[in-house]
Symmetry: C2
């Protein structure tokens, strides 16, 4: 298994600090959960039914023609490489590492590409996989650029997979509206923006035929009843104003985090609303320094860097600021 | 997608009866849900962590050496055929139809075998797949018989997959205690016995190496936080007495259902605590007759038969009895 953020139990054990005493900034998950609506007993008790309106709500919310609910976009990341014939796959690097691993395990030939290398390599690829905005770099790709790459890939029977896990605060960059084009696959995450990562919900936006293949491979009842109920409520048109407000608050929090780091001589190299990314030679030392103070951030070794998630309350902001002051 | 019980919305539309007016006996899910414990906010909000004790609780409850939690045993049914090299697979028939479909789609050669045909065909098989007790026939296979078949299969590098989705009321028939033998795979369902099918939780009991392969194919966070929290509570030793009581009540209800049918000249051909199975030439007519009265049972075409689940309250029992009286 790859290393991920959020492994608080392991950190608690390693640093001898009780789980409840940590400030966990190791994930890119919104720190304040969307209020969980009352879950009808039937959602727990009965087999989930597909025709509950969740797909339609997701389509309307994301502006897509077709949407397949999955138990977290990770479920699609695991499966998609196995639906396509073996080929040469360009994967943005650094990025969310599960993509590269899944394509490699499925028998594809992997090219890890920096953003600046994609254009030159594109015509040698059968598939291109990237996250937009990227994680952890925060780099945003322009839709026109991605649509051009998709067009060139598809002309040769290839495909473009765009993981939009962190797109909710910048919907103008989304390819959702184009996702019914053959050869274009868009992944959306529910848990990050809504701060409900434990729910396990995500969506694949793509042409209907591919979604049907995925549906068959996942089998019936792939998404839990409570996840469907929460998704329906949160993605519904009636929640649109609350979603917009949440987006604005998260963007402001992201800017505050960037400023907090910058003011301490730790100017981020990139970021999105939900995280900031910091390349520094002493990344491992700072990670350890913060962990000994019960602050967990995400350490990357290649390149040496840290990803900071958003503190969830004022005490958390102060605690992070103080610890960084102490480090410098 | 195969036909399944529990598709109440579709039935409501077809028969013009509102969803809430139905008596749904179309599944083998316990009608009274295990009381859902309070779900900690963190279970919704945070990424689920593997080291929460759920695996240990499942091992202790089922009496197995190793257990992998999955999002419903269906998730394992989808995946297991793809972990094994293509071969000849004997699948008990009739049985839960997802098994045969999954093995066929994964490229295996399928032999559909009646229970009485297994012994004669066993030495030609690379894998044998059956449910114990079987669904819908209720047939129970003796552990000694299954262990003998496993031994013979494994000697030639083959394997035995036993789906124990309906085993909770007859644990003396379970192979869980033997599930660390290479070549033996046992599936357990959480939602049926506990009446919480929407939660999506199940377990694969097998040798550690196979579970690790499955874990890698499923990827991280395959089971939701709430499902893990409920599973932990329900499978814990502290719930053992409540589980035993539930088992006794379900067995009594199963006997009541068998008697109710028998007294109306519809003696079941088999059953388990959670359902009774009735082979009759006029299965389709009786299905339709009941549906027009808002009672949904599961119709099978091959062989022509009906599966009756348990009514959840006294009004439901009376309604079923009255409808069957009216039919005869």
């Amino acid at each position: 298994m790859l290393e991920h953020g959020g492994r608080l139990r392991a950190a608690a054990q390693r640093f001898g600090i009780p789980v409840n005493d940590w400030l966990d900034l190791s994930t890119g998950i919104a720190p304040e959960p969307w209020p969980v609506p009352a879950i009808p007993l039937d959602a727990w008790a009965r087999l989930p039914e597909d025709d509950d309106g969740l797909e339609q709500a997701a389509c309307a919310c994301y502006g897509a023609a077709h949407a397949l609910p999955v138990a977290g976009s990770q479920a699609a990341i695991q499966l998609l490489p196995r639906l396509l014939p073996a080929g040469t796959v360009g994967v943005l690097a650094p990025s969310y590492a599960e993509h590269a691993q899944a394509w490699q395990r499925a028998g594809h030939r992997l090219l890890r590409l920096a953003a600046g290398e994609i254009e030159a390599q594109l015509d040698a690829l059968d598939a291109l996989v990237l996250a937009n905005p990227n994680n952890p770099s925060g780099r945003l790709f322009a839709p026109a650029q991605l649509l051009d790459w998709h067009e060139r890939l598809y002309r040769r029977g290839g495909c473009l997979l765009v993981d939009e896990a962190f797109m909710d605060c910048t919907p103008e960059f989304s390819l959702a509206a184009h996702s019914d084009k053959p050869g274009l696959i868009v992944l959306r995450s529910f848990g990050k923006f809504f701060g409900l990562a434990g729910v396990r919900l995500g969506f694949v936006l793509a042409e209907a035929e591919l979604l049907e293949q995925l549906r068959q491979r996942l089998g019936p009842w792939a998404v839990s009843g409570p996840a469907r109920a929460i998704g329906l409520q949160a993605l519904d048109e009636s929640s649109a104003a609350a979603r917009r407000l949440r987006g604005l608050r998260l963007q402001a929090a992201g800017q505050r985090l960037a400023a907090l780091l910058r003011e301490r001589g730790l100017a981020p190299d990139g970021g999105a609303a939900l995280f900031q990314w910091l390349r520094i030679p002493d990344a491992a030392e700072l990670h350890e320094f913060l962990a000994r103070r019960g602050i967990l951030v995400r350490l990357f070794e290649q390149p040496a860097s840290l990803r900071f998630g958003l503190p969830g309350d004022e005490a958390g902001w102060q605690r992070l600021a103080q610890a960084l002051d102490d480090y410098r």
